[in-house]
Amino acid sequence: MPIDKQERTRILIIEDEPMLALDLEEIIVDAGFKLAAIAGKLDKALALIESGGFDAAIVDANLAGVSASPLAFEMTARGLPFIVLSGYSSEQLQGAFPRALFLQKPCRPDQIIQALNTICPSNKIVSNRSNQE
């Protein structure tokens, strides 16, 4: 796995369940992505989006009872790709995350990686190459 490519794709994990946040971290790191930061609360996540320093994000739809839709709005405005992860079905969240790529909890690690590759074309090339190697 080429190190320069991995480091170009920094992932922000926005997940309020620490066990899952750590698991996601392990999943993306194992797949060759770099962890930018972990945020479990809306205000912290907003601050991180504001300061930048990541290329894509995994967003839990609900943070301690608060909808994460403002985050989606901010990232969309900045052209930052993200996937939405939630225990709610996509119908339940209808409207909160227009055009977002959804993954329902619980999901398999490869589904997450595949989703990340879908939204990060540059990394997809890296992954494909690494698969070919």
Binding site: E15, E17, P18, M19, A21, D23, A64, G65, Y88, P106
Partner: protein, 608 residues
């Protein structure tokens, strides 16, 4: 002295004149009675014309002479008259009879015929002198009276009302009709001569006297409902009307007594039935009201006013006006149109859910309502509306729906956590112990979950969480395991993270640490340190166990008591592997860990 002759002659002349005058006077008197006078011999055969008879009957002298006069007597009466005449003649006593005689105009007239025999000075019979008086009018009046009397007597006898005739002076019963005797169970003879109170009409003699006094003053008295005990002891309900009448200068009281027991019972039954139905309608959770053919609100159950809000007046008000007071558009327009449609076409209607903004309340309400056209008294149509306010039920159902979604969400979240725990356990355990370690960790998660549900996701007391996670070491708590800290309530999120950390710490202590031998001890303490931003600290310190060495390899347990719990409370966790005993310490801001009194915990706090 005058000469006797002349004086005799004078006397004779005077006597004749007096006689003459007397006869004139007498005849005038007889004429004045209106009587027809006649005279005839005992044979009853006229031997000379009777001018008055002829004038009355219109018979000529020839027609009446001999027995010709009998042709003017009613054939039906002739035989009786003849036999009476025979008796009179035989006995010499005056003849008296009533029979019909045809008047000159052909009308039969009842005549009272009286005749006396005129005797000569020797006492021999010469002839009969008679007078006929027209009594037709009296006869007719008598007959009428008799008919009337019979008619009223029959009414009295056959009436289905009791009738009592009372003497106002003695207060005693003078007469009672059969219905009355039947009603009371006494015979007529038993009733006559007793007072009303003696048959249970009035309480006592005093009341009886009072009643008669009132009756004398007012001439009328009416008792709408009196209990009357008959001889069998059965109580009948009666209506009594008493009137005081004058009867030939005397007063009588007529009492009409009507048995209204059945009517009363029917009335009571009807009223009870009416009340029952009214109660059912008034107290049912459905509102019922009626709109008449003029589109006015005609009737409404009690629940209607409650649902409508105080609209005064309501009854008689134009229904369109009422609806516009109640609802904003578009509901108001729809409701009015639907009522009109049903009133005009007779087509029923049922809306299972009409939800809209009220106009006279700041609420959104939901109703199930149904319309039916009905015939109302007077033969016109009306529309009856039955409705049910299910606003609360709808909210409840929506709430249940939300909860169901929440349960689904949490279950999936928990499965994701289990998935992560399983993955980590697999990564750090040998296949032989994987199942055991995973089961323990799932038990730990389940324990925290149980506590959260028991506390309705409103936070968990630190001591409760510690005791729950150390449940399999329960017999050591209080001796080798010391708990020390004030009552503090952890947020659901903090409780879940700290719960997992406590589970790992306890497992570790039991397997390798202070609780793995027979004398080691664990001290678990927690506190809040006041500051501008107060902090919550929790520590786990072991001593007396086997000597400790830092782990050579970082396992899943280290992640849980380190980064995982740090992320859960946004705090810092430190571990110390001193040889004398392992210790762990967690510090975090109170706002990230504890429930505060003002902050009401709710299910959504733990949504992840």
């Amino acid at each position: 002295m005058d000469t006797p002759t002349s004086s005799l002659a004078e006397t004779g002349q005077k006597a004749e004149a007096a006689l003459c005058e007397s006869e004139v006077r007498y005849r005038t008197l007889v004429k004045a009675t209106g009587a027809v006078t006649w005279s005839c011999p005992s044979s009853g055969l006229y031997n000379e014309p009777q001018p008055e008879w002829m004038a009355f009957t219109g018979q000529s002298a020839e027609e009446m002479l001999g027995d010709g006069w009998t042709k003017a007597v009613h054939p039906a009466d002739l035989a009786a008259a003849g036999s009476k005449w025979g008796e009179a003649v035989a006995s010499g006593l005056p003849f008296s009879n009533e029979h019909r005689i045809r008047r000159h105009d052909g009308q039969w007239r009842w005549m009272r015929v009286l005749a006396v025999p005129i005797l000569d000075t020797a006492g021999n019979e010469l002839c009969w002198f008679g007078s006929n008086v027209d009594i037709t009018d009296r006869k007719v009046a008598e007959a009428k009276l008799r008919t009337s009397e019979n008619r009223y007597r029959r009414l009295f006898e056959a009436a289905h009302d009791g009738v009592l005739i009372l003497d106002p002076d003695t207060r005693k019963i003078v007469d009672a009709n059969p219905f009355m005797t039947g009603l009371l169970g006494y015979t007529r003879e038993q009733l006559i001569g007793i007072e009303l109170y003696e048959i249970g009409f009035l309480v006592d003699a005093q009341q009886s006297r009072d009643m008669f006094q009132t009756l004398k003053a007012m001439r009328h008295i009416r008792y709408e409902s009196l209990p009357l005990k008959n001889q069998d002891g059965n109580v009948r309900e009666v209506e009594v009307v008493a009137n005081l009448y004058d009867e030939n200068g005397r007063s009588v009281i007529q009492c009409n007594v009507r048995d209204i027991t059945d009517r009363k019972q029917a009335e009571t039954a009807l009223r009870q039935s009416h009340d029952t139905y009214l109660n059912l309608i008034e107290n049912n959770p459905f509102g019922v009201y009626l709109i008449d053919s003029d589109f006015r609100l005609a009737q409404a159950s009690a629940s209607v006013q409650k649902a409508f809000g105080a609209i005064v007046p309501l009854i008689g008000r134009d229904f369109e006006e009422v609806v516009r007071i109640l609802w904003q558009e578009p509901v108001a327009g729809e409701v009015i149109a639907q009522f009109r449609h049903t009133l005009e076409t007779g087509e029923g209607y049922h809306s299972k859910d009409t939800t809209g903004k009220r106009a006279n309340r700041n609420t959104v309400e939901s109703y199930d309502w149904q319309l039916e056209r009905v015939k109302i008294p007077g033969g016109r149509f009306g529309v009856v509306c039955y409705f049910y306010d299910f606003t609360e039920r709808k909210h409840f159902e929506e709430h249940i729906g939300l909860l169901m979604n929440e349960v689904n969400h949490r279950a999936k979240n928990l499965l994701a956590v289990v998935q992560a725990v399983a993955k980590q356990t697999a990564k750090h355990s040998s296949p032989e112990i994987f199942m055991e370690r995973l089961s323990e960790r799932i038990d730990g998660l389940a324990t925290s979950q149980d506590l959260l549900v028991k506390n309705q996701w409103r936070g968990i007391e630190v001591a409760n969480l510690v005791e729950a996670q150390l449940a399999y070491l329960k017999n050591l708590v209080g001796t080798r395991v010391q708990l020390d800290g004030p009552p503090l309530r952890l947020t659901p999120a903090a409780a879940q993270g700290i719960g997992m950390a406590l589970h790992e710490l306890a497992t570790n202590a039991a397997k390798y640490g202070a609780l793995s031998n027979s004398e080691g001890r664990v001290r678990i303490s927690w506190k809040v340190t006041p500051a501008e931003k107060p902090t919550f600290s929790m520590s786990w310190s072991e001593d007396g166990g086997p000597s400790v060495a830092p782990p050579t390899r970082k396992g899943f347990g280290q992640t849980v008591i380190g980064r995982m719990v740090e992320a859960a409370v946004d705090g810092t966790a430190e571990t110390d592997y001193q040889e004398s005993g392992f210790s762990w310490k967690l510090d975090a801001l109170v706002v990230n860990t504890l429930e505060t009194d003002t902050e009401k915990g709710s299910a959504s706090d733990a949504n992840r």
